[in-house]
Symmetry: C2
Subunit: 147 residues, 2 copies
Amino acid sequence: MPRIEANTIAQTNSTGYPPAHAALVGGRWVRRLGQAAGLSDFGVSQVMLKPGAASSQRHWHEDEDEFVVMLAGEAVLVEDGSRTAMRPGDMAAFPKGEPNGHHLVNESDADCLFLAFGRPPLGDCHYADIDMVWTGGSYRRTDGSDF
Amino acid sequence: MPRIEANTIAQTNSTGYPPAHAALVGGRWVRRLGQAAGLSDFGVSQVMLKPGAASSQRHWHEDEDEFVVMLAGEAVLVEDGSRTAMRPGDMAAFPKGEPNGHHLVNESDADCLFLAFGRPPLGDCHYADIDMVWTGGSYRRTDGSDF
């Protein structure tokens, strides 16, 4: 089937975040469409956020670009000093190395759905609102200590 | 502005195809959103097809994955032996190296709009319906002769 039948692809709300920082993404349900379709150049994830859930902790990547497009519902794109409503068809790009943490938060009363594109993170990822960094393949506090 | 204002980005219907094969994409209008937004890991193009236009000649890439998601209107995804209606929210993935030529054709009476993702083609690209191949940085006939 050339057209992707997303509903046939496994959906997960698992996270590798330390328990102290996991609750924010408990209502984030992800389907790894690109991987399921055999793509390797970049990842494509369908992300559904339940009311109150966020796409991630607010973060920015040193070495990976990201791109999102809203498909249904509404979310708020939060960055340093800005809040932007994202509705179906709205898009945002996050070039690697720009130190402006971002995430999408579903502040509405209904589910929202978007696609997220990016390569698997190999470089460091910095978190704007919490004492956490992704470095060397694991989450650590900014002083280098383990969770 | 974190949200992409697509209407502010230049739109082009130019093509590098030889004149004999260019008419099919004359009504294809492209905005290179990823490039405009500073992304380099992968390309993101917003593509509008006028009625009768196609996304490309039907093709497959040896070395680049592709992904499309429909945003508005309707197109037909044509592959070897299949025709699939693509409507808003529908997606398709084309893993590199699968020798099944694909393109989207707007057979409706209204414009359609989709996003296309992929890296710039470096490897060979094969065309299913015409005597053409992209190889070594240019379009040639399959016998290697120039257009």
